[in-house]
Assembly symmetry: C2
Homo-oligomer: 159 residues x 2
């Protein structure tokens, strides 16, 4: 059994933010690479049941990202996509995000990679275009996908 | 004297949003062009006293935008910049924004152009990465720049 770190997910009522803090037993360079290398990203993102159909990832300022998957009883395809505002290797990613079921509801997320005790503290600040959009994302069970995705990332980093 | 429309700017306390509504006596195509053509954009953006030094504008998904200007007693150069998430001609622009004096504090703004009574209703929804960042932007006098900029745009559209 692999021991993993807890995932802190904060969504204060009445504000359009989701804040995530998670530590990893790997260097910032390794955790950053898992976020920006298309093949690696596809291996850990989302819950274990999620089947990624497509992954597009161009981690440069102005570059696009997108991943598509099937979910629900109808096995309907959905996707998340956006553009990178800024990418500082091993340190910072700022990117927009949009869910295919909520077109033109675009948010922005900032991901920082900080070295802590030889490992990495990952900090994610997500900003939604409305409190309602944030609440809908949380109500969809995104926290489960985040927690399980980071457990898969732990396993990938330890392998 | 030119009669202009009022500019509605709403910044509800405790939320990181700025919402702007403004009508123009010109078609959505003309108002959209004033936002996406580099030369036209430079002619109306900001208060009358603002001297734009540089304007970069690539209104495509993933394209970059930036304008630099000098302000304050020191005549210090500052800039706003970002990337376009999505551009639908004559209808919608979604873009990130960042102020050079607040690096890595990145927001996202959605601008819609709707035809109303032969003119255009422009709607801007700005989302800041924190309530503090929104409050700082409002405290800087951004409302004056917005109102005067749209008056300049009226004049340009009428010319």
């Amino acid at each position: 059994m692999t021991l993993t770190h807890p995932t802190s997910i904060t969504a204060r009522p009445g504000l359009p933010f989701v804040d995530i803090v998670r530590e990893f037993d790997a260097t910032p360079a390794a955790v950053f690479r898992a976020h920006t290398d298309r093949e690696l990203f596809a291996r850990w993102t989302g819950p274990r049941t999620m089947q990624l159909d497509e992954v597009e990832l161009d981690p440069t300022s102005g570059g696009r990202w997108r991943f598509a998957f099937r979910a629900g009883e109808d096995d309907m395809q959905m996707s998340f996509s956006g553009v990178f505002h800024n990418v500082e290797p091993n340190a910072l990613i700022i990117q927009t995000f949009e869910f295919s079921l909520a077109p033109n509801q675009v948010g922005v997320s900032s991901i920082t990679f900080a070295e802590v005790n030889g490992g990495t503290r990952l900090t994610v600040h997500e900003v939604y275009p409305s409190v309602e959009a944030r609440d809908a994302a949380m109500a969809s069970g995104m926290d489960h996908g985040i927690v399980e995705g980071y457990e898969r990332l732990d396993e990938m980093l330890a392998a």
